[in-house]
Subunit: 665 residues, 2 copies
């Protein structure tokens, strides 16, 4: 235990400093959530002064304990802690600019804005589920590099709201199954939600629920600092992840609003604030912290210096090769071998073309990637054999085999996506996870956070259209490409053949600033590409087949499985004397983000523009114009063999050629 | 108990008829899931011959027990049951056309295709969560109309996958809290998932987990028909919802594949099928059911005739007024009072214009609607005071107050949306539920099912843009309007003022064939409309302000809070001598669905088209063309007071006017 011994009353004063700053900042912003930091200040004071291994001045030290404020609305708790412990950049002026434009203290904690924030929280349930990924990454990295190099805890403060969200169940089931014993969740068990007493909407016994998921769980008084410390001690000794349900009073100290939903999401008001400070024995001046209390906090902020230095010595003592590899992995830099492996793979595809489903092409790519990239961490939400995501060379991760490099996430798409965020944020691994494209709907809140935070993760989404056939409309995405492309910073790839699959994998793995979706087919497709000189998918679209015999009259744009159809339509048009070209669009969003002149070169000036995609039209007008021809889906799909469906919905080479011909006149 | 006594061996033969049809249909389709129906055939045989209150010939009889196959991939179970019990339209030929185009036997059960299917399932977790809504509706309707009129159970067969999905936690927490004791879940506890043994990914103790959520839960042998019957008896007597974990063997009877994931999602193959039939004592002919077994099943299908007739007599004995009201409610017909109430409300808005947030305008509309429409069932995922969804005249529903007409769903957006589907499918209520627009991401799988099934539900989604201000980008939708508009059959309304809010509520409540989103602001907006002669939102877009002094040079299209900005820009342009008109677009998707000539009338022919929406551009090119001017968001938002954000992101009347001017030249 890295402890600076604090007499209990000093700990109380230190907790009050959090309360004081939280009340003042929310009051000044006229907006925010004072009740949560006031209620959890004692928990945070114990955690940060006695347990959390951190060095405030070096917030990105790799082996620090992770602290996740899942109840992100209580952001002033963490901003106060960062200020009090002396984190770089978190000045009292930033606290005063809480929730103002350009400040380091936005409404909810944003890791891309504020140094010292481990992950962006606010959408409930995300923090705890992301923390599961962090704890998983720690366990795997420790198994690979040893306890001397990797050995830290992940702490979470979670609220009732976090635990009511369904994703929390997926997360705790994974953590329990994987025996992530270094994950410790402190539950702010305050019996209040926004609508009023929790009893309006909930009667779950959370301790029993967590125990059912394989956790150690207990209840304590969340304002008894000795009890908090003792419970964390017990948790650290457990072989299971731990829930500590801390009974707290929301808005602790506010004479009228404490213990009520009125303390949750609005300023206390001048009068109640004044009375709360009086009751807590806090001086009335806003944003003031007594010098000796600030000094104690700053000492706590330096508690981890020795631990950090010891870790640095241990790392320095590793073999140079091992050390270099760990450091590369933690930097998120790709191994030199990766580019070579992919180049060889692409060359092999030209030598032996593969007329297979793109999910199978993806498997071939993975077989090339995995041995070249030890941090490559694939997984599936219980569709391994359908998603084709498991390389032969890797074993499954389990509590007993922490060196396994394939994750069976279970039927938990949302938990998978959130855990992937945590794995990526922790560092050391490049996570990718798989399910059917239609089930991105289940994972969307975590995928959005990935785009917002810019985590480098890959979603391998197979069965990407009516091409999945018999499973029917509940399993056939039609709006999902559009819905994913609409997310800022989400890159959506829909490759047309085995070569484009390799190119898109390459682009996705080398994307350092955000997530990528690979939309892949269930059905077989011909290999269309005959050369691999450059990564032609890199600009999102390129001319796959030029017009024959002169200036093009028609350009057919298509993605994925519909590029084959476009190529067929071009042939039919050519046979009728119409000059048509085909532009393959492996990433519409990437392409639309290019400067206009770069786009114009690819779009060309053929008067008739046709787009083909077995999905809804939303978004395509940006490329083909509102007067362009779109061949795709107008509504939901149906259950039948896929070839019947393509005919039924009129997505065929003949239909495309006929639509183009009608325009050519 | 409505029972036709069956000797156990006959029950076994009846179960084998299910197994036989399931094996044959999947084999013929070369696609499907034989293992689940083979594993649960005994459970289904007990349920349908001894407990389920139904009259196969009258599958929509309102007081029937509901049966939900949450594990929808096992669709052949329910198709076999429909055929065997003699449901209208389910012939042996339909069974033979399993998973073929136009059949009544699609890959997953689709209630809009097949009579006798209560809800569309397949996306895991949805069935159990929808069933919670059905059971809730039953409890509320029984409280209102009495046990003589409404008194039935809701049975669910759920799989491991259903219980691993997070939405199941939200659903069971609600059911436990509400003490929905007439909800009985039979859990197909077969220890197998697609990737292999369940132990690869899960070790949750489901019985303890359900108990922690306030359920009665027990374990039985799922192939012991006496044990199944006894457990259902106990469940029916419980004051809590019940989980019966039935230990089963997936693919029961298949000599090699039973008990393995190989029995899950593919045909058994000719050899294994033959051997399975031999082992089970089934004749080898495909699609054959022994005459005496079919006869027993058909008798079971008629078990409920007497119960139905008794119910009809009881209904006939109700007071004419009560009966008429119940029948109207069950037909889903709106009360005559509703149109009058809304007309009066709109008139009052003209008399006293309201310059308030559209969430507040919505509250005013709700205050007008709720007293006129007893089936109006509002609720919120713990944001009641922010969503403004609770009419003063209604009380909260609870286990103790089942006549309450407001649902505190808790922080469970997904469970709320799924429950709303169940409520709508059950009949008797018009559900609407609320959260922040950004959190539609959490509810999306259930919202998609609503669109697919065409359930008439309303999502009241407030805080619909950067206008929510300080909570920041995690809470600010930017892509959600586009992502929702892309869902086929989802109607997205974004009204601009109090009058449009009333109009959009009217359109949403009168939509019989699908769901509607109301996207509403946190911030105040001026009332722009000065007349209410017709529902001008009904076509999705209309000219709010014409150009002054001649033919328009500029058309500014805008939605919601940005219509005020468009009106401001029009004034600035007019002041500079540029003739501009404003088109308000309360529903872009509705408008784009109109015939071209109807659209052209509203779009007009001003050479410069500008769209203003505080969201991403996706979809707008369809209206303004890819060369149109779009003023909106290019990425995520930020945390600050909302007026600062509008300036920061350049969504102002000045910016719109300047962009238009640059085009006018």
């Amino acid at each position: 235990m890295l402890s600076v011994t604090q007499p209990r009353e000093k700990l109380g004063q230190m907790a009050n400093a959090i309360r004081s700053l939280a009340m003042d900042a929310v009051e000044q912003a006229k907006s925010g959530h004072p009740g949560m930091p006031m209620g959890t200040a004692d928990i945070a004071a114990v955690l940060f002064t006695k347990f959390l291994k951190f060095d405030a001045a070096n917030p990105t030290w790799p082996d620090r304990d992770r602290f996740v404020l899942s109840a992100g609305h209580g952001s002033m708790l963490i901003y106060a802690l960062l200020y009090l412990t002396g984190a770089p950049g978190m000045t009292i002026d930033e606290i005063k600019r809480f929730r103002q434009i350009g400040s380091k203290t936005p409404g909810h904690p944003e890791n891309f804005i504020t140094t010292g924030i481990e992950t962006t929280t606010g959408p409930l349930g995300q923090g705890i589920a992301t923390a599961v990924g962090m704890a998983l990454a720690e366990k795997m990295l420790a198994a690979e590099f040893g306890k001397k190099a990797v050995d830290h805890h992940t702490y979470v403060i979670a609220s009732d709201g976090d635990l009511m969200e369904g994703v929390s169940q997926e997360a705790i089931a994974m953590a329990g199954h994987w025996k992530l014993n270094k994950l410790i969740v402190l539950f702010d068990d305050n019996d209040i939600s926004i609508d009023g007493p929790l009893s309006l909407a909930d009667s779950v016994d959370q301790v029993k629920r967590f125990q059912a998921a394989g956790w150690r769980a207990e209840r304590i008084n969340g304002h008894d600092t000795d009890a908090i410390a003792a419970a964390i001690e017990r948790a650290k000794k457990s072989g299971k992840p731990s829930l500590i349900a801390c009974k707290t009073v929301i808005g602790y100290g506010a004479p009228k609003k404490a213990g009520t939903s009125k303390a949750h999401g609005e300023p206390l008001g001048a009068e109640e604030l004044k009375a709360a400070k009086e009751k807590l024995g806090i001086a009335p001046e806003p944003f003031s912290v007594p010098a000796e209390v600030l000094k104690a906090w700053r000492e706590a902020g330096g508690r981890g210096v020795a631990a950090r230095k010891e870790w640095e010595s241990r790392i320095a003592a590793l073999s140079p090769k091992k050390r270099a590899e760990l450091e590369r992995r933690l930097r998120g830099e790709r191994p030199a071998k990766l580019a070579k492996a992919l180049a060889a793979h692409k060359k092999a595809l030209i030598a032996t073309p593969q007329n297979i489903a793109t999910r199978k092409s993806s498997e071939l790519a993975i077989e090339a990637i995995a041995p070249a990239m030890p941090e490559f961490l694939a997984g599936s939400a219980d569709l391994t054999g359908s998603n084709n995501t498991k390389a032969k060379s890797v074993a499954a991760f389990s509590a007993k085999n922490p060196k396994g490099r394939y994750i069976h996430y279970g039927i938990r798409e949302h938990g998978m996506a959130a855990a992937m965020n945590g794995i990526a944020l922790h560092g050391g691994f490049a996570p990718n996870g798989a399910t059917f494209l239609v089930f991105t709907d289940y994972a969307r809140p975590a995928m959005r956070l990935a785009a917002l935070m810019g985590t480098s993760v890959v979603y391998v989404m197979t069965h990407d259209s009516i091409g999945l056939g018999e499973d029917g409309p509940t399993h056939q995405p039609v709006e999902h490409l559009a819905a994913l492309r609409a997310i800022p910073n989400m890159r959506v790839f829909r490759p047309a053949d085995a070569v484009e699959v390799a190119e898109c994998w390459e682009l996705a793995l080398n994307r350092a600033d955000g997530p990528s979706v690979l939309a892949l087919t269930r059905q077989n497709l011909p290999q269309l590409r005959t050369e691999v000189k450059a990564n032609r998918s890199a600009e999102g679209a390129y001319e796959l087949a030029a017009a024959e015999g002169g200036k093009a009259q028609v350009t057919i744009f298509a993605t994925g499985s519909e590029v084959e159809i476009a190529v067929g339509a071009r042939k039919l048009l050519t046979d009728k004397g119409v000059r048509a070209r085909v532009v393959s669009v492996p990433s519409l969003d990437l392409f639309l983000g290019l400067p206009a002149d770069a786009r114009a070169k690819v779009v060309g000036d053929a008067p008739v523009k046709v787009a083909v995609e077995a999905a809804v039209r939303w978004g395509w007008d940006a490329l083909i114009g509102s007067d362009g021809v779109f061949v795709g889906m107008a509504g939901f799909g149906a259950s039948a063999p896929y070839k019947d469906l393509y005919k039924h919905f009129g997505i065929t080479a003949e239909a495309v050629a006929a639509a183009a011909l009608a325009r050519v006149g």
